[in-house]
């Protein structure tokens, strides 16, 4: 079983007033375990909708979505919540850290909902923060950190429950290019460790870090190309 994500004929329609909007018009995609994939496309092309469905935040109108060998398109809200908790790590464009909590608490939060005992939570969170290079910022609140540092906290948070895939939605969108490159190097490193990473971006330079680019337009995949060499610096 080497496929991480298998989606087949995914259709997603929204009702906007009287008109039905077709955000995804039959999308099929297979992402293997350990792949590093970028999803590109102009705004309104359906890439965010796909990310929501891949992230189990939303259900497709029709079609099948197998995550890690299990069908998730028909799960209930609470089952989706558990799936998000165990199998998916999110990294958002605007970080989405809780302002009142320290980095350590933010990183430990997914483990609270996973029912991990407190001591183990703190150990794992400390390890994850150290891995992203924030071992000395564990007790800082988000507003005491730079944008790049905040995104690194968010990445650490996405890792702690050992998810099947890491989904990053425009992770460098709010960062300057240097911080953006640093963040991408972290994703490269995670991928090297064997993690499946899917990221949405509209910047080709960011997509060059990956080995596969899937391009969307008007709700369908128009291009799916793989490349041998990525921009990842290798042993960083």
């Amino acid at each position: 079983m080497s496929e991480s994500i298998v989606i087949k004929d995914i259709v997603k329609t929204y009702l906007m007033g009287d008109t039905t909007v077709r955000a995804l018009a039959g999308v099929s995609l297979l992402i293997e375990r350990g792949e590093f994939t970028a999803i590109m496309g102009p705004s309104g092309s359906g890439k965010s909708t796909l990310m929501n469905i891949l992230g189990c935040l939303d259900r497709p109108t029709s079609g099948s979505y197998m995550l890690d060998g299990a069908e998730v398109a028909t799960l209930s809200d609470d089952e989706l919540a558990v799936t998000r908790n165990r199998k998916i790590g999110f990294v958002f464009q605007n970080f989405n850290l809780l302002a009142r909590m320290s980095s350590l608490q933010n990183v430990a939060l997914p483990m609270v909902y996973a029912g991990v005992p407190k001591k183990e939570r703190l150990e794992k969170a400390t390890k994850a923060l150290t891995m992203v290079g924030l071992g000395d910022r564990m007790h800082h609140k988000p507003n005491e950190l730079s944008g790049g540092q905040r995104q690194r906290v968010a990445i650490a948070r996405s890792l702690v429950n050992e998810p099947t895939i890491i989904l990053a939605d425009e992770p460098t969108g709010n960062l300057d290019s240097r911080a953006g490159d640093e963040i991408m190097e972290i994703f490269c490193e995670l991928n090297r460790q064997g993690r499946t990473v899917v990221l949405v971006t509209h910047e080709p330079e960011i997509a060059e870090y990956t080995r596969r680019t899937v391009t969307f337009r008007d709700g369908v995949i128009v291009k799916d190309e793989r490349r041998e060499a990525s921009k990842c610096s290798g042993k960083a």
């Binding site: 935040l57 919540a81 908790n85 909902y113």
Partner: protein
């Protein structure tokens, strides 16, 4: 998970200290008011109960003259219908009667040395002491021999002692009541004020026969106090007295009674019920303020849910289930209720203590009231927290994450 939720909730409250305190204030005042009001009401009821006990238990009072259904006494010409012999007959012939004390009464001036005091002179029999729940603090009470010999002996109430003798021991002294001399043989223990605010210690007791023949020049009595064995037989005794007196007074059927039998316990039970109603009313008024406090919780929780929509979205994206979010906000509401309730209990206890010490009102704080008010405040937190918490838990994670 539960304790995690409590910790998260406490953090949320701490983040908005002022707002949390103000919201809590509604519950604090509500719970405090319930406890203070109920303790005042119960204090009043306690006082009434004590007065009932003070009057004597299972007491019937036979008065001359008829009673119309409205309670107005009519047939004024028949007010001398009761006699000492009637009282003796009641004691002799009716079963279930333990004590009988006939009585006459008039205001007189009592004089000792240079001091005088206008008081109520009551002529009665030895049973009076027990029927009316008096006790002697010194000396002896009227005896049957005093009655037989129409002896001029007197027992003084503590108010009379104070006004005529001051600190001096009155036993063995001679006082004058309306020019007749009486020897003081006993002093009554003070009873304090009655429920109606009358001084129950402002009286002089003399033998019934002495009062009738030497002072008033009458043969009738003004009332007969009858004590029944137990509350169960009191109604039977009341009926038997009526029957007996109708026979003794030779009243043909159809002619109204020339006396009336009043059941004091029943009257006092009514008074007690009234104070109970007042307590309930006070408690309810206070409970309404508790309800308003609860609405305050709901209000602030709704604001809090709206404000933290994004936080809810993040938590949901990270795997929080419906129950996780519900619990988080519910616990926040309950924590406000519980904390407010605890402070309110302290406030209510303080208020009722202050009222009783400053205003001299008796207040009774019952453990039951405290638990009730506390339980109520927890329930209010739960009830008014449920709607906002449910609203939060039902938020769609995508919408919540997009919320600005």
């Amino acid at each position: 998970m539960f304790w995690e939720s409590v910790v998260i909730a406490l953090d949320g409250l701490r983040a908005n200290k002022m707002r949390s305190i103000l919201t809590m204030l509604g519950i604090i005042i509500g719970v405090g008011a319930v406890i203070a009001m109920v303790s005042i009401g119960m204090g009043v009821r306690d006082k009434v109960q004590k007065s009932i006990a003070g009057l004597g238990s299972n007491l019937l009072i036979v008065m001359p003259g008829a009673t119309a259904p409205s309670g107005v006494r009519v047939a004024a010409g028949s007010t001398i219908s009761l006699t000492y012999k009637d009282a003796q007959a009641i004691a002799r012939e009716i079963s279930g009667v333990t004590m009988v004390a006939p009585m006459v009464q008039r205001q007189y001036q009592a004089v000792y040395g240079g001091k005088n005091w206008i008081t109520s002179m009551q002529g009665t029999t030895p049973d009076f002491l027990e029927v009316r729940n008096f006790t002697l603090s010194d000396g002896a009470f009227i005896t049957q021999r005093d009655l037989d010999t129409r002896d001029r002996v007197a027992i003084l109430g503590s108010t009379v002692v104070e006004n005529l003798f001051g600190e001096m021991n009155p036993i063995g002294q001679t006082i004058r009541i309306n020019k007749s001399t009486f020897r003081v043989v006993g002093v009554l223990a003070p009873k304090g004020q009655s429920a109606g605010g009358q001084d129950q210690d402002d009286l002089i007791i003399v033998p019934l026969t002495t009062a009738q023949e030497r002072m008033l020049g009458v043969t009738n009595v003004q009332s007969i106090s009858v004590q029944a064995e137990s509350p169960e037989v009191i109604n039977q005794v009341q009926d038997d007295i009526s029957t007996l007196l109708r026979v003794r007074h030779r009243l043909p059927p159809g002619v109204p009674d020339d006396f009336s039998v009043r059941n004091l316990t029943a009257i006092m039970a009514t008074a007690e019920e009234t104070t109970g109603t007042i307590t309930l009313l006070l408690g309810n008024t206070a409970a309404i303020s508790l309800l308003v406090g609860g609405i305050g919780i709901m209000n602030i929780m709704l604001v809090s849910v709206t404000e933290r929509t994004r936080e809810i979205g993040v938590r949901k994206a990270l795997g929080a289930t419906f129950a996780n979010i519900l619990l988080q906000f519910l616990i926040e509401a309950i924590v406000i209720g519980v904390t407010g309730g605890l402070i309110g209990i302290a406030l209510g206890l303080g208020a009722s203590y202050t009222i009783s010490s400053v205003f001299g009102w008796a207040t009774v704080v019952s453990v039951g009231t405290i638990f009730l008010a506390f339980g109520f405040s927890v329930l209010i937190g739960l009830f008014f927290g449920l709607y906002p918490a449910r609203k939060a838990a039902l938020l769609d994670p995508i919408d919540a994450l997009r919320y600005e």
